[in-house]
């Protein structure tokens, strides 16, 4: 049963969450997704479903960091295999109790003890290269680990300096964090380092709830049949992601779009350029996903809440939440 996961396309509702994950899969440069929300809303299900959805990648055989070309393989890894093999996109789960050694990699104790060799044993970051790193309950992770992860996610390089080892390897991955705000907040300094943030709520419409329970139940009763029934929808999303990735470089952003991004940032009082850049990249990914040749103000409008809401200064009195503040500002700026 462990190999099977609930299909992504069969998740009922939660469109913002699904869109954010898809966009991050199209353009890893967006910088990760943070999903905050109630219990039982399918956060973990959606991320785990991504693994099955994503197309396989070509990696050098035997390379610990999933390099695409033999010359990219790190020198500490020993001789790389001659050929390329196709592997599912890695989606690595970071367990809450993971130690720093296990995350960054450390001296291979077995080699050290048994043969007296100084060898590097790659950690979770190496395995997640070119894929996804998923942290459930990111708000409960030890602060020093979150700092480390965000740092690596941004630089794309993991460097280990310990036990007389000095190792650097590529670690380009999309960080996906999820959590329940009732159990602990994420430091505001960390919030805006995630590219996109979405808030999920349980569906309030009874028909949607019934459908969600029915599908989940059908899946649990007979996973194989359920997966077969959804295979076509899964393939459709996968193809759209692939097409968008290929088209990304071609999608134009006019000066007018850049001006609108900047104006929106100013209207919301967001510090720094990170918000604007994410807005632009995510809008481009959305345009690609929908097969549009250029970014339109409508793309910006739809992306703005997930790209900007977590960067605002919190106003404790705003009952509607920061997403609707972003929507209002977007409506004003974008017309």
């Amino acid at each position: 049963m462990s190999g099977q996961v609930f299909p992504f396309s069969a998740i009922v509702g939660q469109d913002q969450m699904k869109l954010a994950i898809i966009l991050a899969a199209i353009d890893p440069g967006i910088g990760g997704v943070l999903i905050f929300g109630d219990r039982g809303t399918g956060k973990s299900t959606a991320v785990r479903a991504l693994a099955a959805l994503l197309p396989p990648i070509e990696v050098v055989e035997g390379c610990p960091v999933n390099s695409a070309r033999p010359e990219d393989c790190p020198d500490w890894a020993g001789p790389a295999g001659p050929g390329l093999v196709s592997r599912p996109t890695p989606v690595v789960d970071l367990p809450l109790g993971a130690t720093e050694d296990r995350v960054t990699g450390a001296l291979d104790i077995e080699a050290a003890l048994g043969r007296g060799e100084k060898r590097f044993q790659p950690g979770l970051l190496a395995r997640a290269n070119r894929g996804f790193l998923y942290i459930d309950e990111v708000n409960l992770l030890e602060d020093h680990l979150v700092d480390l992860l965000l740092d690596v996610a941004q630089s794309g390089i993991n460097s280990v300096e310990r036990e007389g080892l000095s190792i650097r390897h590529a670690a380009r991955f999309v960080l996906i964090g999820s959590g329940n705000p009732e159990e602990g907040e994420l430091r505001p300094q960390l919030l805006d380092r995630f590219g996109l943030a979405v808030e999920v709520r349980s569906a309030s419409e009874i028909g949607e709830r019934i459908e969600a329970v029915r599908r989940r139940d059908a899946y649990e009763t007979d996973p194989a049949a359920f997966l077969a029934a959804w295979a076509a929808d899964e393939a459709r999303i996968r193809d759209a992601i692939l097409a968008a990735r290929a088209a990304l470089a071609e999608i134009a952003a006019t000066d007018e779009i850049l001006r609108l991004c900047a104006a929106l940032s100013l209207a919301l009082g967001v510090d720094g350029l990170r918000g604007e850049l994410t807005l632009l990249r995510a809008a481009r990914a959305l345009a690609g996903y929908e097969g549009a040749g250029a970014i339109t103000p409508d793309h910006l409008r739809r992306i703005a809440p997930m790209a900007m809401s977590h960067r605002l200064r919190r106003d404790p009195l705003d009952e509607a939440g920061s997403a609707s503040r972003v929507e209002r500002a977007a409506a004003e700026v974008l017309g």
Binding site: P95, L96, G97, I109, G114, I210, V213, L317
Partner: protein, 582 residues
């Protein structure tokens, strides 16, 4: 007793419980155990709320007799992660000269009994939730010994377990012969795979859950599985109406957050409306009560009395019920408190080195390092800076008492002096209690911080001496200031508590304009926000003749309301201290 017919069961149980009362807690617990035995991996497990005593003893005995082919492990809130998820066996690794891993308890399907579950910290809860989500056949029994309604196991875990049983009110435990025997359970397990629920069963349970105000979608899913297990237990090939009803009673009733409303009235949330409308049409044509309404009625009749009382009082129900963790605020430091696992780090003069953990970290590399520095004397341990491990301790955080004082108008002048006195009294024994104190006052059009969080008595006295009074009552502004200060303090590791001294008669809104209605509206909104932030709070009613306003405000805040018309500083201090301790 056989489980062939749930209705017969219910009859027997109610006979034992006296009158035609619904099945008592004990019968319910035994029934839940029987169902759990049929599908332990699918149902997640059971939350048991009971203090240690003969009743819980009897339950444990019944649990031990349960015909499960799962190993049973007892774990506690302090069980380390590697015991659950596996890790490196250091001693064996050193002895064998190669890495020896030990498998954790979670490696194979097991029944995990978590004792003192109300003290589980969110991390262990998240680990256990992950284990349950992987669906490898684990089943968890949470033994909750919480004394107050706020002291409950983490919601993340309770949400994943099908059953919740409260045995605190059960005086007399019958023997475990109420359980079906192994053969019956075995037969039920065989039947379970073939039992299918119709699509309308899911719809019925979702609607029942919605009318009881249950948010999580796991609840109806678990109820559906329970209904199937019940059908299997009673020898039916398909889920029938009594199975659905009993599943709703077992799974949904304990999660109810409101009393079911038979007809959607004006303040009912939208979800039930369209569905009930649909079914109303059906029933008009078919001339029968829709199944989910019958079940809702049955569930409403079976709600335990204390839950009823809580739901009827409405206020506080959700606030208390949805707490993430039962324990109070904690901080991590490395000076005092309960020890936590050591962490790598550099000694900075404040942190203490954990010698054993450091040696343990250094041990595997001795052979390698000896090769690098051949001159080292034999028997000497070579320790490098990367081996150093520092102690960590978990400690209850210091408390910050935020006094938020209404300094408006002439009547407040006298109260102000008393409030100052109470602040000084708190500060006087602040050192022993590890309390810090802050003072906010609101008057005129805004609130101001008169005393930033401090435990310095001298400075506090000096600031308090020059406390102005008079003007309007910007209650909402005062609450906003208290909220901001409380959250900031919490981020710094304090456990903030709010003591609000006011008559509750706000007359200046947040826009700094006078007007009673707008002011009350603003105050209500801010109060809801404070309540959402879960700042412990008490309202001391300072009006010479206590009126309704302050108690209404306390209701908005979910706070205790104490009328202290003529209290002096000492009485005020005592009342606040008692309320905060309680």
């Amino acid at each position: 007793m056989t489980a062939a017919n749930p209705e017969a069961d219910a009859g027997e149980d109610s006979g034992a419980g006296g009158g035609d009362a619904p099945p008592d807690g004990w019968a319910r617990a035994m029934r839940a155990l029987a169902v759990l035995a049929v599908d332990p991996g699918g149902l997640g497990g059971l939350t048991l709320r009971a203090r240690a005593g003969p009743v819980r003893h009897a339950f444990d005995a019944a649990c031990a007799m349960l015909p499960l082919d799962l190993p049973r492990h007892r774990i506690g809130p302090a069980t380390p992660e590697d015991r659950l998820c596996g890790g490196i066996d250091v001693l064996a690794s050193l002895g064998a000269g190669r890495m020896v891993r030990v498998a954790g308890l979670a490696a194979r399907p097991a029944m995990l009994v978590l004792v003192m579950a109300e003290r589980t910290d969110p991390r262990l809860a998240a680990t256990l939730a992950g284990i349950l989500d992987r669906r490898h056949g684990h089943c968890l029994i949470l033994q909750d010994e919480g004394a107050t309604p706020d002291e409950v196991p983490p919601a993340a875990l309770r949400d994943r377990l099908a059953f919740a049983v409260d045995l605190d009110d059960v005086r007399h435990a019958r023997t475990a012969t109420d359980l079906p025997d192994a053969a019956m359970i075995g037969a039920a397990r065989q039947r379970l795979a073939a039992i299918t629920g119709g699509p309308e069963d899911a719809a019925t349970l979702v609607m029942v859950a919605a009318s009881l105000g249950i948010e999580s979608l796991r609840a109806p899913l678990l109820a559906l599985r329970v209904a199937r297990a019940l059908a299997a237990l009673s020898g039916r090939g398909a889920v029938a109406q009594p199975d659905l009803r009993e599943a709703a009673e077992l799974v949904l009733a304990p999660r109810a957050t409101r009393l079911p409303q038979p007809r959607p009235d004006d303040h009912a949330p939208p979800p039930p409306e369209p569905a009930e409308g649909d079914l109303q049409d059906n029933s008009d044509s078919a001339g029968a009560t829709p199944p989910h309404e019958m079940i809702v009625e049955a569930v409403a009749a079976s709600l335990p009395p204390h839950l009823l009382a809580r739901l009827a009082s409405d206020a506080g129900a959700t606030g208390a019920a949805c707490r993430g963790s039962g324990a109070g605020a904690r901080v991590r430091g490395n000076r005092r408190g309960r020890p936590l696992p050591a962490r790598p780090g550099r000694p900075d003069g404040r942190a203490r080195i954990d010698l054993i953990a450091t040696l343990r970290a250094a041990a595997p590399f001795q052979r390698l390092r000896r090769a690098d520095c051949p001159g080292t004397a034999a028997g000497r341990v070579i320790v490098t800076p990367s081996d150093l491990r520092l102690c960590r301790h978990e400690d209850r955080s210091d408390r910050l008492l935020i006094f938020c004082v209404d300094a408006s108008g002439s009547a407040a002048m006298a109260r102000m002096a008393e409030a100052k006195g109470a602040v000084e009294l708190f500060l006087a024994d602040a050192y022993a209690q590890r309390d810090h104190v802050a003072l906010l006052a609101f008057r005129g059009t805004r609130a101001e911080m008169l005393l930033a969080p401090t435990r310095a008595l001298v400075m506090a006295k000096r600031r308090l001496a020059a406390l102005p009074g008079g003007g309007g009552t910007p209650l909402a502004a005062g609450l906003v200031a208290a909220h901001g200060l409380g959250l900031a303090a919490r981020r710094q590791g304090f456990a903030p508590a709010l003591i609000l001294l006011t008559d509750g008669r706000g007359n200046v809104g947040l826009d700094e304009r006078p007007g009673r209605e707008a002011a009350a509206d603003d105050a209500r909104r801010v109060a809801a926000m404070l309540r959402g932030a879960r700042l412990p709070c008490i309202v001391l009613d300072s009006a010479p003749r206590p009126g309704a306003e302050a108690s209404v405000l306390a209701g908005w805040l979910g706070a205790r309301h104490l009328a202290l018309p003529r209290a002096d500083a000492r009485a005020m201090r005592d009342a606040a201290a008692a309320a905060l301790a309680g």
